[in-house]
Every structure is written in structure tokens, then in C-alpha cells.
Symmetry: C2
Subunit: 195 residues, 2 copies
């Protein structure tokens, strides 16, 4: 069976191992240091599962079993040729081909008519505030990274995320206003349903 590109954590593993061989725990540490866990969900349990799966598909191999002092053994892995190929191909398709991902907010907002308009207005405003907070937090982080001398390419994903969050905030602001003024299409029957 061919390798299924499900968990992006596997992508991170391939990327890390193409720098140098590592053992799983070290991969996790490195991801933390580089703020990669902001972008790719990291979970120790999943990490070991992913490493095992990659090994089974011969995209990485156990290159050594170290034993320093009396510490538990640690298995060091290295990327194979097929692994490097997989990394690049996966990366290209990840960027080139948008994938349907079913964001939870879309599910929520699609049912907003189930809430009374006043409640809807309140929760949307709360989200707007939360998004604004995320934006300022990102701006701070970005300031810090740029201050450390990192080039834009090193935090390009944060740039993207900020653009998306700004767009979301603008939409939320519009929707809140339209709901408050009662100018959103279908407002009258919406209000009628809730009395």
C-alpha cells in the first residue's frame, strides 16, 4: 500500500531529518524551538506513530540505537532517498492544490439562523474581539522574529495567517453591522422566527 499523506506531522519529520538524523524526542524539541508547533500540530503519541509509519514505507530508516549513560535507549532515524522525493512532491502538491478542510466556523455560521439575532450579534462580536487579539499577538511575535534578524521567508506562514485573519475580521465586522442594522438579507423572517 502506498503512503497516505494524512498527518502533516510526517512532513515535518521528513523536513527535520533532511537536515540531519535525529531521534523522535529531539524532533519534538526542535519543532518547539522553531515555533513549528504553531503551524503543525505536535503530539508525542502521534509523533511515534508517524515515525513508525514512515519507517514501514521506507521513507526513513532507523540509523542507530544510542545508549548514553543509563538513559533509555533512543533510536536515531535518517531520511532515505525515497523520503526526500516524497517530501518535495508532497510539499509541491500541498501548495499547488487547495484541499477542502471544513473549518469549524463555516459550520457554525451556516447555522447562525438558529440563534436569535441578538445572540448572534453578541457571539460574532466576541469572535471579532478574539481575532483582533490574535492579530496583535502575531504582530508582537513577528516583531520579535524580525528583530532576531530572521528574513521574511522564515516567517512567511505568519504573514499569510495575518492576511487571513484581517480578512476574517473585516467580514465579521460587516456581518455584525448588517445584523445590528437588520440589513442582512432575510433579517425580517429571522427575527420573526424568534419571538
Amino acid at each position: 500500500m502506498t503512503f497516505k499523506r494524512t498527518n502533516p506531522l510526517a512532513l515535518a519529520v521528513l523536513a527535520l531529518l533532511s537536515e540531519r538524523p535525529m531521534h523522535p524526542y529531539e524532533m519534538a524539541q526542535t519543532m518547539r524551538e522553531r515555533h513549528q508547533e504553531e503551524v503543525i500540530k505536535l503530539n508525542y503519541g502521534s509523533l511515534y506513530t508517524v515515525v513508525e509509519t514512515l519507517t514501514r514505507h521506507e521513507l526513513i530508516t532507523a540509523s542507530a540505537v544510542q545508549k548514553a549513560g543509563n538513559r533509555p535507549e533512543r533510536t536515531v532515524y535518517a531520511v532515505t532517498g525515497a523520503g526526500t522525493a516524497e517530501l518535495h512532491d508532497w510539499l509541491r502538491s500541498l501548495i499547488a492544490e487547495p484541499a477542502r478542510e471544513y473549518p469549524r466556523f463555516e459550520a457554525g455560521i451556516s447555522m447562525v439562523g438558529l440563534l436569535p439575532p441578538s445572540d448572534a450579534l453578541e457571539v460574532v462580536r466576541r469572535r471579532e474581539a478574539a481575532v483582533t487579539e490574535q492579530l496583535t499577538a502575531l504582530a508582537v511575535l513577528l516583531e520579535k522574529l524580525a528583530g532576531m534578524g530572521l528574513p521574511q521567508l522564515a516567517w512567511i506562514e505568519l504573514d499569510y495567517r495575518m492576511a487571513m485573519l484581517r480578512a476574517e475580521r473585516a467580514w465579521l465586522s460587516w456581518f455584525a453591522t448588517a445584523t445590528g442594522e437588520g440589513t442582512v438579507g432575510g433579517y425580517d423572517s429571522w427575527e420573526d422566527r424568534h419571538r
Copy 2:
């Protein structure tokens, strides 16, 4: 153990059953007809699992077992009081509180430096084209729904999605241009790494 709000399909089930009692297969049909599967991932296997879980938590109950002709038995479910409360509360938190969702594109673009600049430019342009296609497809669908007399509130999630897609397209366009011109921060070392 308290009910975990993981699968949004459970939200759809609660919403459908607060209209009227249904059996699982009918829920699926209804979701299809209303284009809900565009927003919430529908899978028969998951549907039955979700229904069972909701039953276990007494958010819905099997209200009847029908047997029409010689067809297989079908179990009809109805929402309980606790279920209605859960629906509203879940909905409110889904809208009010942004959840980290790790979009795959963020993972991809964060590693774009691993590709040579020319390859990066190509795949980003391809995504830009794909996003544009999605936008025109959505515009067509939206035209159709509006033509059927449905109010804006009935397709508000498509409105949101279009706003997000437009923002993404704008960002992709900027990034492609900056990469092509070599004006993205860190371009020189990026190019150097790939010769």
C-alpha cells in the same frame, strides 16, 4: 464522561433532528439536498457512529423503529431537551471562539524555502489559478441559490468563504510577484541555497 464536541457532523444531526425526527439515512439525504455537505464533512460510517454517541449521551433518543414493506428496519431518532441545549451552546461557542485548525497550506508554505524559487513560483501560481476557479464556481452556485429566492442568511457561509478565498488569492498574487521579482525578504540566500 461529558460529550466531546469533536465531529461537527454531530452538530448537523442535532440541527436536523430539531426540525423533525428522522432516521440516519434520511439525515444524509437532507444534508445532500441542502448543500450542507459542502460545509460539514459527511460520511456514512461516521454518521452512524455519531448517532450512536449522541444516543449514549442522551442528546437524542431512538423514538421508533419503522418497518415499511420488506425494507430493512430503520430507526428514527428525535432530539431531547439536553440535545437542544447542547446544540445552542455548541453553536455559540463555535462562532464566538476561534479554534486553531492547522490548515495544510500553512504547513506547506512554511516550508516553501525547501523548494527552489522557480518551483515555488510555479506551484503558488497554480494555487492562485485553482482558487480563482473555486471563486467562479461559488459565484455560480450563489447566483443559483439567490435565483431560487433564498435569502442571504441561508447561504451566509458561502459569503464568508468567498471573502476568505479572495483574501487568499490576493496574498498568493503578492507572494508570487515578490518571488518573481526577488523582493521577498531573504530571497538572495534562498536562491543561493539552490544552485
